[in-house]
Every structure is written in structure tokens, then in C-alpha cells.
Amino acid sequence: MLLKEIGAIIPGERAGGAAVETEVSGVYTSDLLSDVMAHAQEGQALVTIQAHKNTVAVATLVGLPAIIICNDRELPEDMIESAAQEGIAIFRTALDQYEVSGRLWEAFKQ
């Protein structure tokens, strides 16, 4: 799935970097960064409420092209800057983790 397709499924705003044609291989949902570090796979999008710069660092380490921030959590300026620098896309949505994961699960099944 391409980044722009995620944008079509998940309503909200976009920040950070990464081209719309970037390929996303799957999804990992977690609010514990150490768990993301241990279990997320390169190429996946991360669904989380952890709206801060550390999330971008972990995404960079694991190789996650996108972070989807749920519940309309506010994005700190340094998080957006860091994501732009690292070429990681951020989606911010009012949906919660369950709903976002469900929508993406359906989309990836097709």
C-alpha cells in the first residue's frame, strides 16, 4: 500500500516527511516504544498515541515510514521537524487506535 492510500482511508491531517508514493508494507499498533522497537517490522506504519519526538527516533531506528497519531493528540513542533528531517510521514487523526487498526486491516486484506 502507498502512503497516499493511507491518507485516503484515515481522515485527518498530515505532517512530517516521506513521499506519497512510499510503500507501506503493513501496520503495527502499540503505545509502548520499547515494544515497537522489539516487534515492529521495517516498512510498517505505526499506530500510536505517543505524540513526541522519541517516537520518531524509534521509527527511524526500525525503519517505519509512517506514524499515525490517534485521538487527535497534539503534535509537538520538534516531533514534526524531526519527522520531516528523517523523511517519516505523520498522520494525525481523531480516530482511536482500534478504529485506525481496523480500517487498515481491512485495506491490507484486499
Binding site: 509502548l32 520499547s34 522497537m37 505517543q50 505524540a51 522519541n54 528523517e86
Partner: protein
């Protein structure tokens, strides 16, 4: 006497801290701001505590030696000890709990072990910001059993705090609770509330200290011994090496490509593990073995008692507590 204290500060060992934050720079900035009791609390490690002992003695500041622990829940916790040896030995027990995530300095920053003269001793190569494989309660108990002061850190921060991760403060052997602003009972219980700078850059030092009322005698006794200790650890006494490698001179340029100098020349590569020669080298340094532990323990106990009696006045910023 009323003393200004600041118990939450990072040095260049923390990957997220400025390379300019050598222990000696931290101590100098703190003294200039009138801080009398200062703690070093790098993430999950204490390698810069020997340098901090010397730096504080030179500046006439009383040090506490600690670390900011990152438990499984990712709610941060300060653990503070009276002497560099005690902090190093406690931190050594954390190494097996640190997940072996190699440090990528280009993404996460450098982790630089230095001496009190800003010679680079070692570059640590595992990411110290990772969560330890132990729970919040477990680490609090470990630190308390080892005789440390235990203080949940920035409990009202919107990330990496008991507030963001748990929503409440679990019961535990705490000596105080650190917050950035005023907090409700659910986040501090009956404990004394202190403020802390969480300094990562020189300009952050002493931005949120707290005042504490301490008995004169233990502090004065320790200060006297610190003067002798400082003369036992003259400049250049524990690093061989080249002063051109001063951490503060890098001005934010990474040292990733720079080979570690000084003592590090005699070290095997640091790959953590309890048998790391870095530990052996640090634990036998004069600034560790000659530290006045007896009077330092007495002082820390007087400090603990003052915390329990809530003889403290935090510097809180007023801001709404929102998640």
C-alpha cells in the same frame, strides 16, 4: 540552612543531551546559579559519576550520584546515591536489563564518558535511552533496597511519566516526587513534591531548582572532606590523554568518527555486559575509591529526612495539566 538543590540533570553520556554538557560544565553552570546540591542523572547509566564527583568538589557543590531509570512502563524514575561507587555498582546491575540496541549516533546522539577535565574516556555503544527489562515497581524497590533516594521523575509530563503511562502514581518507596507544575494527589500521594531542571543543555541548568532546609552539620562535614578529596584528584589525575579532545569544544559536532582517547586506549570495545573493562577501570579510579563515603552517606540521610519532613519549596511553572 536553606539550600538550592537540583536533582535532575543529564550529561553528555545521555544521547539526547548536548555534547557541551560535561559534568564539569554542569557543575560550573550550577554553581553560577547558586545551586548547593546537584545530582547527575543520565539515562540508565552512571559512567560520568566519577567525573561528576571531582567536578562538584572543585566547584564547592555537594553532589548526589544517580541515574534516570526507564522501566518497562516507560515512566521515568530517579535513583540517587551518596557516592560514585554506589551509583556505579547499582548501574552495573542494570546492564543485563538493557536491551542490546546498538547506538546509532547519527539518529540518537553520542554517549560520551568523560573525566572531570573533559577528556573523552569512552563512547558507549548501546542505546541508553531504551526501556530496561524491569517494571517501575521493581526498579523503585531495587534502588530503595540499595540505599538510594527514589523519586518518580516529572510525573506530570505528557510523555515518559507516570501520568502519561499509568495515569496515577503506584505505591512505592519514594522519598519525593518530581513535577514540573502543581499536581493533584493522584500523582504525588503524601510525598514531598520537588521540582527539577531535567537539564540536557547548559542553558537548562538550574531552570527549576527547589529549596530545601537542611541541618548544617552533615553538609559542612562533607564539604570539608570534599576539599581534601579535590586536592587528591588534581587536574589530569585520572585520564591520560589529550586535552584537545575536550567534549565541550566539539560545539555540537558529532564525535562518532573520533576514536575514543585517553583511558579508552587500553579498553576492549565496550559491548556492555557485566565484565566490561570500563567498569573495572572506573571503579578503581582515585576519584571513586577516595570519595568520602561515610560523610556523604550521613549527608544524604539528612537530605532524605528533610524530604520526608517536606522541608522543601519547589520552583513550579504554572501550566495546565493536559494530556
Amino acid at each position: 540552612m536553606i539550600v538550592r538543590a537540583d536533582l535532575h540533570n543529564h550529561s553528555c553520556l545521555s544521547p539526547c543531551a548536548s555534547l557541551e554538557m560535561s559534568p564539569s560544565r554542569l557543575a560550573a553552570e550550577a554553581r553560577a546559579a547558586g545551586v548547593g546540591v546537584l545530582a547527575l542523572t543520565d539515562h540508565n547509566a552512571a559512567f560520568n559519576c566519577p567525573a561528576f564527583a571531582v567536578a562538584c568538589a572543585r566547584e564547592g557543590i555537594i553532589p548526589l550520584f544517580g541515574m534516570e531509570l526507564n522501566p518497562r512502563e516507560e515512566a521515568h524514575l530517579l535513583a540517587l546515591f551518596a557516592a560514585p561507587r554506589l551509583a556505579l555498582e547499582f548501574a552495573r546491575r542494570l546492564e543485563p536489563l538493557l536491551p542490546p540496541v546498538p547506538l546509532r549516533p547519527d539518529v540518537l546522539g553520542d554517549e560520551v564518558v568523560v573525566d572531570a577535565d573533559e577528556n573523552v574516556l569512552e563512547l558507549y555503544d548501546l542505546w541508553l535511552g531504551a526501556a530496561l527489562d524491569a517494571g517501575f515497581d521493581e526498579l523503585a524497590r531495587m534502588a530503595s533496597d540499595a540505599g538510594g533516594l527514589v523519586i518518580p521523575a516529572h510525573v506530570d509530563r505528557p510523555a515518559m511519566s507516570v501520568y502519561s503511562q499509568l495515569g496515577f502514581l503506584p505505591e512505592g518507596p519514594y522519598d519525593a516526587v518530581e513535577s514540573i507544575g502543581p499536581v493533584p494527589r493522584a500523582l504525588c500521594g503524601e510525598h514531598a513534591i520537588i521540582s527539577g531542571s531535567d537539564a540536557h543543555y547548559p542553558e537548562h541548568v538550574a531552570r527549576r531548582p527547589f529549596e530545601i532546609e537542611l541541618p548544617d552539620e552533615p553538609a559542612q562535614a562533607l564539604r570539608k572532606e570534599q576539599v581534601r578529596f579535590a586536592s587528591d584528584c588534581p587536574i589530569g589525575s585520572f585520564a591520560v590523554g589529550d586535552n584537545d579532545d575536550r567534549a565541550h569544544r566539539t560545539d555540537g559536532e558529532l564525535m562518532v568518527s573520533m576514536p575514543a582517547k585517553g583511558l579508552a586506549r587500553t579498553f576492549a570495545p565496550v559491548s556492555a555486559g557485566a565484565e566490561s573493562p570500563l567498569w573495572e577501570a572506573l571503579l578503581v579510579l582515585p576519584c571513586v575509591t577516595k570519595y568520602p563515603e561515610g560523610s556523604a552517606r550521613d549527608f544524604m540521610e539528612s537530605f532524605r529526612a528533610a524530604l520526608h519532613e517536606k522541608k522543601v519549596k519547589p520552583t513550579h511553572v504554572s501550566r495546565p495539566l493536559v494530556l
